[in-house]
Amino acid sequence: MIDWLSALFSLLIFPGFAFLFLCALTFQWIDRLVVARLQGRVGPPWYQPLADFIKLLAKEDVLPIGAHELACAALPMVSLAAVLTAALYIPVGTHSAPSFEGDLIVVLFLLSIPSLAYFLAGWLSGSVFSVIGGNRSLLQYFSYEVPFLMALSGPAILSGSWSIAQITAQQSHAPWIALVQPLGFFLALTGLIGKLKRSPFDIPKAKSEIGAGPLTEFSGRKLALWQLSLHIKTAVGIFLLVNVFLGGASIGLPAPAVLVFGIKALLVLLVLSLVDVLYARLRIDQLVNLGWRVLAPLALVQVLVVILIGVG
C-alpha cells in the first residue's frame, strides 16, 4: 500500500509531472531573463511563463481546413508523453530513479520522439511554411542526433554500464566525466542545443523566414501543449547532461544534494542562454555541413579515445 502511494507520489509530484512542470517554467523564465539582461533589457516577470501557458489554454483552438484534425490533436500529446516518460529514468538530486541496464538508450530514444512529432506536425498542418519547417527539422535531426548519441555513449563505455544511475554512481568518487572527456561534454551540449532547437540551430522555427515553422497553424491548447513539451524537454535534457557528465548530486564534500544538483543544472542552462545570445542562426545546409564534417568525426574520435585508453 505504502509503496503504491509513494510510487504515485513520485510519479505525479516530486520527480514527476508537477516538479517537471515547475522546472520547465522556471528554466524558461531564467533563460528569457538572462537573454534579456545580456541584451540590455529588463526581461519578463517571474510569472510570465505561467501566464503564457494559461492564456494559451484559454484561447480558441483553430486549424486550417487542409490540416489533419486527429493527428494535429494527437501529436502534442505524444511528444509531451514521450518527454515525461523519459524524465522517469533520470535521477534528480537524492531521488534514485527506477534504473535498469540500458535505460540511457531508452531515454535517448524517448527524447527523440518529440522531434519526429514536430516534423509530422509540420507536414500535417497544411500551411506552406510549416511544410518547409517540417523538412528542415528532419534534415537538422540527423545532423545533431548522431554526434549527440556518440557523445553520450562515451561515459557509458567509460563506466562500463548503460544505466544512468550507474554512471552517476561511478562519478561520485572518480573525477567527473566532463573533466575526463571535455570533448564529449562539448558535443553533448551542441547536440542538446540542436535537439532543443535553440538559437544557433533554431532553423525549423526561424522567426524571420518561415514564421513559427511547423507550429504556424497551431493555436490555443495544442500550442500550449507543444510549448510545454519543448520546455519540459529542456529541463529533462539539462538533467540528463548533469547526471551523465557532471556527476549528478555528488560534489565530493558533504553538501545538500538537491542544492548541488540545482546549481549544476542552472550552470548548464546559463551556458545554453549565452550561446543563444552570442551567435546568429545558421542556414540549414551550413548546419548539416557542420554536423557531418565537424561534429560526427569529433564524436568518433572521442569514442575511439574512450575505447582505447579508457577501458584499455
Binding site: 529588463v42 526581461g43 494559461i54 492564456k55 484561447k59 480558441e60 511554411f129 497553424e217 493555436s219
Partner: protein, 144 residues
Amino acid sequence: MLDRLTRRIVRWARRKSPWVLHFNSGGCNGCDIEIVDLLTPRYDVERLGILKEASPRHADVLLCTGPVTRQSRDRLRRIYEQIPAPKWVVAVGSCSCSGGVFHDGYNVLGGIDQVLPVDVYVPGCPCRPEAIINGLIRLLEEIE
C-alpha cells in the same frame, strides 16, 4: 464558485501575456519603426509580457498601422479572421485611426475602422512608443 475563480485566473493570464501581431496596411513606415522600437532596450515591452509573434495563429492583439489602401483591405480582413478569439485590434497612428494625412487619396479607404472593429485608437503621426504602450495598457485593463 470554482467558475468565478477560473475566470479570474484566465483574465489575469490574458492581461499578463498579450501577444502582438503587427500589420502595415499601407502607411509610411513611421509608426512601424515605433512599434518595433517597443521591443528594444529603451522601451522593452517584454517586461509587460508582450511578445511580437510571427504567425496570426499565435497572436491576441492586432497592431495595425497605416491607412487601409484598397489593395490591402482583403488581406487585413483575412489576417483578422485568422487570429483565434479572443482578439483585439489597436489602431496605431493617425493614419490607421482616420486615414490621417492621406485621407483624400484615391486609393485610400480611410482608417482601420472601415474594415475591422477597433478597440483602442492611438493617435499621433507618428505616435510615440510611450503612447503605444499606454494604449496597450489601457486595452489590457479593459480585457475580460
